[in-house]
Symmetry: C2
Subunit: 229 residues, 2 copies
């Protein structure tokens, strides 16, 4: 399977801890989304990951796992691993510490499948915002400065603006898009309509749809695909 | 001037805050050292940097500035900027925060001159150890795991084992050298003899001599050059 992940416009984020009927999975996988990202902060197990993987395989849609904490993550049988580092936290464990533990505990990391992501977490009330104590009260220039460092100093291939569960400020995503040159800019958070997909899709290279699949259904998912492709 | 910094075996670290007579600078610059690194945690000013730069220029030796905190650093007229990020600190400011401030404050960073360094600080009593609250009680495998992440996850071109002011554990440097593949491995701390230069030079790609210049003189410096070249 060709992994042209730099050209993905639309990614669907599914939580292995939430059950979806196979009929729904079938509609997700054939919606035109470019990839399915399995991502959950908690309760991702070998079993529920394998179950969801079985549900989505055979459609030719790339399957990516994105662990909140790589040191305890399960990666069996997936195509790629998107591994976040949170930049706007005071707690260095979420920048580099968990990664060091991962390296220490797993001598067989398949690096050819790993894509590092520079996360900038902007919803302080989200799980990831709370767990990492992310500093979210940032101006567009301050967020763009994190993004610029992520790209030019750390050479992250992905910069991810994460509003997790809430819709973000387009001015911030625009400022980041004007700063980032080579990194792929991801936006996630609160996209539950074609309009929002189109708005953030102006600035982000790739938009991520998560909760809308569970809360609004596959018709909304398909509308967001159409809005950016 | 050709900046083949990946092939440097011996670097001399000078502190702009400490005066050296021109006769000494002449001997340093013609010692065979591959580069002169201007680095001080405190009191590096535009003036003392310019003064030292004038002293060392004209010898054909590359001149590098390495700021402890890039957000307030002075880079005028130097060939390269080696910019550290400390990985083994609980305080994310030293991993990424200072760099974000730097990006925010300086829209004209000459990125073509910037080489990011992944610092692993292993002397808790040193200035850098105290300022960054570095966690130094690490096994060889734990240090190597930081180094491996630095290279494979963050893509740092330099991994720097910094014992700043004290001589380190060769077993740790060896473990790092066995983990790192493409990154250039720097070792600094306590090299004040040909024997120590040779011992760390077995494992490190590049050794850094600092205090010995001031404390033991240029004959010792020259002996360390011979030991690794």
């Amino acid at each position: 399977m060709q992994m042209d992940w730099k050209n993905w416009r639309h990614v669907t984020k599914l939580d292995p801890d939430k059950h979806l009927d196979q009929a729904i999975v079938d509609e997700v996988a054939t919606s035109g989304t470019d990839a399915i990202l399995l991502s959950g902060t908690l309760n991702v197990t070998r079993e529920n990951l394998a179950e969801l993987r079985e549900q989505v395989q055979g459609y030719g849609v790339p399957l990516v796992v994105e662990p909140a904490d790589p040191s305890g993550a399960v990666f069996d049988g997936v195509d790629m691993l998107f591994v976040p580092s949170v930049l706007n936290t005071p707690d260095a464990r979420w920048v580099v510490g968990k990664h060091q533990q991962w390296f220490l505990n797993d001598p067989a990391i398949p690096w050819e499948k790993v894509v590092p992501e520079a996360y900038i977490v902007l919803n302080p009330a989200s799980s990831v915002g709370r767990v990492t104590r992310a500093v979210c009260d940032l101006s567009p220039a301050e967020v763009a400065a994190y993004a610029g460092c992520a790209e030019r100093y750390f050479h992250f291939p992905i910069v991810y603006i994460e509003y997790s569960g809430t819709y973000g400020d387009p001015a911030i995503v625009r400022a980041v898009s004007e700063t980032v040159e080579d990194a792929v800019l991801y936006y996630g958070g609160g996209i539950n309509s074609a309009e929002r997909a189109a708005e953030m899709g102006q600035y982000a290279d790739t938009i991520v749809i998560g909760n809308a699949v569970y809360e609004k259904g596959v018709d909304t998912l398909k509308a967001t695909v159409k809005a950016v492709q």
